[in-house]
Symmetry: C2
Subunit: 333 residues, 2 copies
């Protein structure tokens, strides 16, 4: 397998991307194509990797640029060059910690959508005791329709089954109550579409169960999913931060903190919203993977390893099959 | 002041409502009108309160009934009788821990909306170090428009200024990013409406800052607000529960827990999503207050005391003035 690594546009710079990639390479062994400033990349590479393919560029798309415009105009932006290279047959995936908007737009206009898919979605794996629940979408697409949300459900389901290895994944719709009639119009219509689909739909799920083991796939419009994901991040960070500052506030508390060290470590490990290095852009023709914008080398290494597993699962073909089947079923009715 | 207390429809039954009301009465002193089963209510009342007005009924609206239909059909349901009594001049507010849907529908059809208000909203005070941020709406209305969200912003702002005592409250829009162009169509249009309004609008706020001190009013559609509120509840409960079970898992951990007892107690007090007894239904002509469905006597007492402060603030008149002013400004442009 051969992966493209976009080294530009992240908060932490080129070095962490190169080091993270090398770290993941040592574990899995794959071919690498770096995109970014060639000399700088070479300066961070160990001797045995100085011969890798490097697409040399210093240009990249910033977070505050209009992504669609930037993708069209900045022909030498790292993500544009990288996604064009991804269209070649010898390459199996791309990972980037740069602008999410640029990655999404590039995924649409350069990698292209899978046949039958209206919109793509970012699938973030939320931590829980069962090994995770995928939230689709976490912000790639807003103003979605029930049909688009049904497609998110299909993609999330394929991801959980073929990448995470969850059999017959339980799909739930993020909503304000359990009854089918709850929610806004979109949620009510989506409920019916999902109930009538061949997916393993288990009904609505409320915000308070986001980190429960009640569902394997949580379906949401990108606006709602993004707010929910960031709310989880915010509350977890705040509470753990408050505990930390409480522990450091006195000698007695420090002793208490020492005695509870493994309890806190366990919780941090089990419910760390950064326990994953990134999230796949589901719905495009080849594996495109978003690493956290503020990744360090360790997080980026995780993202590359996740991409390795994701690309190996052949999710695109399975999504195409399921969507074709769904549309064939629709036509029959 | 005289308040109506609906004793029916909560999870915990009539007793907690009566006891909670009596507890709040001992603190503030006000006249009470109970609605519910007269004999049962009398059996829980102390001697000095056995003479209070009681509207005798055993009927109430269940959580799984269609609220609008139920409000129309069940003429003797406690909330229907209570809201009709609220229309009398000698009564200043109503509190209920029964069906939220019934309270909202009843507020609309019996209490009626303030002139110019399109939809009401439930304003929950989120905990933070500054003494709270009101989230409007937490689930009263979905499928809202930018104009409706602007009205929520006005109502939240009046609430924070006149009930909580926050000067010139900072209003933020719950969104997926900071830039004005972020979010779905509704969020983008709402941003412009708020930016052009006389409110102290400070821009977008993301899910991760729900419990920060960055805003005094957070504006959201009821669907998004409800998901966010319940996500906060869920994550906080989960993390604190995990710490608790960790503390109880061994003698060493128990000792650590004892040493950190006041740290945990502080966090629980500062970030308890149940630190408030309930939330007002903003936008109706008289004070209507929703207590948590699973209130115990202590929580219900808090709700009654919050209603006491809320009703005393005369929020309805101020909302009417602000909305009239807003519409006058609109007409000028």
């Amino acid at each position: 397998m051969k992966f493209i690594v976009d080294t530009l546009g992240s908060d932490e710079g080129v070095k962490m991307a190169v080091e993270g990639t090398v770290d993941s390479y040592r574990k899995h062994g794959f071919d690498i194509v770096f995109v970014g400033p060639k000399e700088e990349i070479l300066s961070y590479l160990p001797d045995d990797l100085k011969g890798v393919e490097i697409i040399d560029t210093k240009e990249y798309i910033h977070n505050d640029e209009h992504p669609v415009m930037a993708i069209r105009k900045k022909k030498n932006a790292s993500i544009v060059l990288g996604l064009h290279r991804l269209n070649d047959d010898d390459v199996d995936g791309l990972v980037s910690a740069g602008s999410t908007g640029a990655l999404l737009s590039g995924g649409y206009f350069i990698t292209k959508r899978i046949d039958g898919i209206e919109r793509g979605c970012l699938g973030a794996l939320l931590p829980n005791k069962l090994g995770g629940t995928v939230l689709v979408d976490t912000g790639a697409n807003m103003d979605t329709t029930p049909e688009i949300l049904r497609q998110f459900a299909v993609m999330g389901s394929v991801y959980m089954e073929h990448v995470i290895g969850r059999e017959n994944p339980r799909v739930a719709l993020l909503n304000v109550g359990e009854e089918p009639t709850k929610g806004d119009k979109r949620a009510q219509e989506t409920y019916q579409l999902l109930a009538d689909s061949p997916l393993h739909f288990i009904g609505n799920i409320e915000g308070r169960s986001m980190l429960s083991e009640d569902a394997d796939v949580i379906v949401a419009d990108g606006f709602v999913g993004n707010v929910a994901l960031k709310t989880i991040e915010g509350v977890a960070k705040l509470l753990l931060g408050e505990i930390k500052s409480g522990v450091y506030s006195s000698t007695k508390h420090k002793l208490g903190g020492m005695l509870l060290k493994d309890v806190f470590a366990n919780i941090k490990e089990n419910y760390n919203y950064k326990s994953r290095g990134g999230a796949p852009l589901l719905g495009v023709k080849k594996p495109v993977f978003k690493a956290h914008g503020n990744s360090d080398a360790e997080a980026f290494s995780m993202a590359v390893s996740e991409m390795y597993e994701y690309a190996g699962a052949g999710v695109e073909k399975k999504i195409a099959e399921k969507i074709a089947q769904l549309h064939a079923d629709d036509a029959k009715q």
